[in-house]
Symmetry: C5
Subunit: 97 residues, 5 copies
């Protein structure tokens, strides 16, 4: 699971049938303070995340363990919205919303 | 899922039996504006993509979740053709075709 | 399996249902002497690890092989707390607790 | 799937039982012109490739989808010998044999 | 599968139950001449390898295809001890023991 920031959305109408209705978020790997500073990927959302949220993104076959993605061509999934990150005893990130 | 641009095709006649008939596209990782700027891989196509398209590429076991690739030796699959990418509230890419 | 140091915790209340109750640790890849020097990821804990511990982190589908994570959206799991690391015949790390 | 050049062979007599009889090729990631320019890995061969060939290499669980590798400890497999690569409308590679 | 050199051992008493009894080796990616020159990982041993050996390491779900690791939280496994590596027609490595 990596810490990522939701930075945008991706629209694709011509899709693999079984993914119809799915919405894709553009997310970028972020450091523990929430600053985007890494690779950009496209992830499906399983937790009603929104743009600007700091989220947990699972990758690989783990993404198909929930009901809505079972047996679908999904390799990146937002599995949580982060509230707090603590590193070396210090609060590094707190969700402002 | 990564954003990639379809940049070419790869022909291989001597193939694993079970992949006969499959066609391979050369794709390159791209940024949200659609500019190729990363790793090149070879992906099968599940959505009738064409050269020059900006596409969504799934990797790993997720590629075998659709009927045509089930139990085949596939590890990269084009699962969508991108129409729009929005980043930080700005339109970064719009499909011109 | 990679050598990682537990450096913090991540709290996410809005999570995929099936992961309710799970706690996430922030871990960073470390060298054989135990010095953090690499990528940061978020891992679930299977062995009662604590902050500051040097641990073994498994990734990918291997994380779902234990009872508590079976069929859950988990892709990084702490599977051991390291006591000793020996490299080229020399003791490089010994757990101090 | 990545484009790789077969650059050598690896002999290992002391092997996991179930892989007895398998032969390993040393392959290196190559660009679309066929020039080796990347990571070196060791792959099993499923298509009677030979040294000097430009090949398609599948990685991960996709490697176990063919009969001869099913349930074996294989994570890289040569699945095709490349005849032609076309990039941006230009022929970049043609197999000379 | 990657070429790695066995450089040390890792001891972890507090482990996931199902891995009790397993021993971990510290291995480092090596070039075809056997010189360690890459990433360090921790791998289980399936072939009675020893420190100093040049070995083949499989990663991912392929590691769970043998009896002793089936359904265990393992993501890196030593699957062979290398005797010879030949690259571009030249002997690059020969096991000295």
């Amino acid at each position: 699971v990596t810490i990522c920031k939701v930075t945008g959305t991706v629209v694709a109408n011509q899709k693999v049938d079984r993914l119809d209705g799915a919405s894709y978020f553009l997310v970028q790997e972020a450091d523990p303070a929430g600053t985007p500073a890494g690779k950009m990927i496209v992830a499906l959302d399983a937790v009603q995340a929104g743009e600007g949220d700091l989220v947990l993104v699972a990758q690989g076959s783990s993404c198909r363990q929930i009901l809505s993605t079972r047996e679908k061509a999904v390799d990146a999934l937002i599995v949580g919205v982060i509230d707090l990150i603590d590193e070396d005893g210090e609060l590094r990130y707190r969700c402002s919303s």
